[in-house]
């Protein structure tokens, strides 16, 4: 997308959401939903709309784990690393995923198919280990099932 097209889209998002109290997070979420990440060109547009400095907007983007500054792979796989999942073998699930993708946390497989993210609890702690694939939760994912899921994602 061209720079002006990004700016036009982001301006539109800002105009639609600027009415509320403390609109920056909803705006950033809408921008990320649109582009898959927060493009650098979006920052000055948002800053101008909300009367903030570009650095302030950047500071907010960098604070939150959900916001990405570069695009992710075609699929985002999030594996719960928290305690209840560990009690049921999540460490092995994560190790299998890292080995299969040949990446560490936050990495994207060389073919661009999968970005691997840690998550700390999905609220599925009674059917652990839990993972989320592109927003869809899957329970009781052991190492073998993880590998199968990644294959389905084209990794």
């Amino acid at each position: 997308m061209s720079q002006t097209a990004v700016e036009t889209t982001v301006s539109g998002i800002c105009a639609a959401l600027d009415g509320g109290e403390g609109p920056l997070l909803p705006i950033l979420q809408a921008v990320q939903a649109e582009f898959g990440h927060i493009p650098q060109q979006a920052l000055p547009v948002i800053a101008a709309a909300l009367n903030l400095s570009r650095a302030e907007v950047q500071g907010v983007v960098s604070f939150y784990h959900d916001f990405r500054e570069v695009p992710a792979g075609r699929h985002v796989v999030r594996i719960c690393r928290a305690e209840a999942c560990q009690a049921m073998g999540a460490t092995a699930t994560a190790a299998a995923a890292q080995a299969r993708l040949d990446v560490d946390w936050h990495g994207t497989s060389a073919n661009g198919a999968v970005t691997l993210e840690p998550v700390y609890c999905l609220g599925l702690c009674a059917c652990a280990p839990a993972v989320m694939v592109d927003g869809r939760a899957i329970a009781r994912v052991d190492a073998e099932r993880m590998t199968h899921i990644l294959t389905e994602c084209g990794a």
């Binding site: 700390y120 609890c121 939760a137």
Partner: protein, 508 residues
């Protein structure tokens, strides 16, 4: 034929949607009309997807269901291999005292008519005839304490906001539910979202607030969708809007989605986040009750605290207060998770012993191995060992035993668990999630990971260092993230010193 298949995220993660598709396919093939309800979960997660079929005797359960089990639902259901009998008669259900979760799993979460038929809106109707001070007094007398972790008396907090003078006040619902091993907020929002809405409206009437926000974590897409729809329904029916139920003052709710920061569950960090800022913790005072969202008086309460208010108003403070133990009044939705045979949500009066919960209700470990440790209260909660299993579930009782109940998550580990690894994880988590405001937390947690690695490498002298570090974090942190991370670390060290100290000798 009336069939219930939960819409709950756990049920869906275990295949409920495929079971629904199979039921509809099978019914169409047989020319049978099916009335399908996507209810919440009953909380018996080991039986999910738990399908219920309405029979003359009551709702009969089948679970855990697979697609292959579906055809059998259309035959002689008494001999179905997954038949469980009447769901309401199952021991797990019968042993509970379901006050906050009375409708969860029972009703269609998005039917306002069913909500009312099952006791909903009675609390709000009563509250509409009371003064703010009377509502606050009722909640205070019920003994309700915050279920988000700190256990602060809800009525006392409300009284502060009621007493504050301001043109605008707010009700903020903390639905960040970041604690690992917890899912009560999620289940309530997915299974009975109107109950949370009713609780927030009552809170608004009590303190004179007209605007409510729900700060809901992004990890819960199903809860976001269900609550959003419930707010729309409540607005359309006049439960929310310019005049609550046609004659009350105004109250409306907006849902805001979090952005993946654990610390934003801390109330002042949450308020900064709602305002569109970095989720850095604010120093107190000022209390959020006096200077909260946008600097205005604000009630910040957990989902379960707010969703418990309707039953208190409907049935009276004394009814609720009569359950419980010591200063822990009423009921608590226990969330039983990790390595257990029977995991899920179990609402009971305070006072069950930890051993009763782990061995009896949860049925011990899923792996069949002995229980080694139980972490209670999320990632900042202490590890308990079987020798402490007589500890009764209550705020003061757990505090006295060197722990906390937090949001009432109970995570069970078997004897294969590496406790040094769990201590290391606690420090790592603190380092990842620290808001960065204070040095003992920001730097201390990173040092903690390094120090535990040195202990792992056999440097027994590093144990004293770890103990010192924990003391510094406990005494020098602004909030409980840095301040309570020492709980899991030190409890692991105290109960399992051999896993921290004997490696050197073993290696020599």
């Amino acid at each position: 034929m009336k069939v219930y298949v939960p819409r709950d995220a756990a049920a869906r993660a275990l295949g409920a949607d495929a079971v629904v598709a199979a039921i509809l396919r099978e019914a169409a093939a047989r020319g049978i009309a099916v009335e399908l309800v996507r209810n919440g979960s009953r909380g018996m997660v080991w039986l999910e997807p738990l399908v219920e079929v309405q029979t003359a005797a009551g709702r009969t359960g089948f679970g855990p269901m697979t697609v292959a089990d579906v055809a059998g639902l259309f035959g002689d259901i008494a001999t179905h291999p997954k038949a469980l009998g009447l769901v309401a008669e199952l021991p797990w259900m019968k042993r509970q005292t379901r006050l906050t979760f009375a409708r969860v799993g029972v009703t269609d979460p998005l039917s306002l008519a069913e909500y009312e038929a099952q006791g909903g809106l009675a609390g709000l109707r009563r509250a509409l005839g009371m003064t703010g001070a009377q509502i606050v007094a009722e909640v205070t007398e019920s003994g309700l304490r915050g279920r988000g972790g700190a256990g602060f008396p809800t009525g006392v907090k409300w009284a502060t906001v009621l007493g504050a003078q301001a043109a605008q006040k707010y009700i903020v619902c903390n639905a960040d539910e970041g604690d690992s091993g917890t899912f009560a907020d999620r289940m309530l929002m997915e299974g009975d979202p109107i109950c949370l809405i009713e609780g927030m409206v009552i809170a608004g009437l009590a303190v004179g607030a007209t605007r409510g926000y729900v700060y809901l974590r992004s990890e819960y897409p199903d809860a976001i969708a269900t609550l959003t729809e419930a707010v729309r329904i409540a607005r359309a029916a006049g439960v929310l809007g310019a005049q609550v139920l046609g004659h009350g003052p105004a109250f409306d709710i907006e849902i805001r989605v979090g952005a993946g920061a654990y610390v934003c569950g801390e109330e002042t960090s949450l308020l900064n986040s709602l305002e569109g800022k970095r989720g850095v913790v604010r120093a107190k005072p000022p209390l959020p009750a006096l200077e909260g969202f946008m600097g205005k008086p604000t009630v910040v309460n957990n989902v379960i605290s707010l969703a418990t208010v309707p039953v208190i108003l409907a049935r009276g403070a004394a009814f609720y207060r009569d359950f419980g133990l010591g200063r822990s009044r009423g009921t608590i939705p226990l969330q039983i998770a990790g390595n257990v045979q029977f995991g899920g949500l179990f609402e009971a009066a305070f006072g069950l012993s930890l051993g009763e919960i782990v061995n009896d209700i949860a049925g011990g470990t899923a792996t069949g191995r002995p229980v080694k440790a139980v972490q209670v209260g999320g990632p900042l909660g202490a590890y308990f060992v079987p020798a402490q299993f007589d500890t009764p579930f209550g705020y003061e009782e757990f505090d006295g035993a060197g722990g906390l109940i937090g949001h009432a998550g109970i995570v069970v580990f078997d004897d294969s668990t590496d406790m040094l690894g769990m201590a290391r994880f606690a420090m790592e988590f603190c380092a990842v999630e620290s808001c960065g405001k204070c040095t003992p937390c920001r730097i201390g947690a990173v040092r903690g990971v390094e120090t535990i690695d040195r202990i792992r490498a056999g440097e027994a002298g590093a144990i004293a260092l770890l103990t010192d570090l924990c003391e510094t974090m406990r005494d020098g942190s602004l909030c409980a993230l840095g301040g309570f991370t020492p709980y899991p670390v030190m409890s692991a060290l105290t109960h399992f010193p051999e896993e921290f100290g004997t490696r050197q000798e073993a290696a020599e």
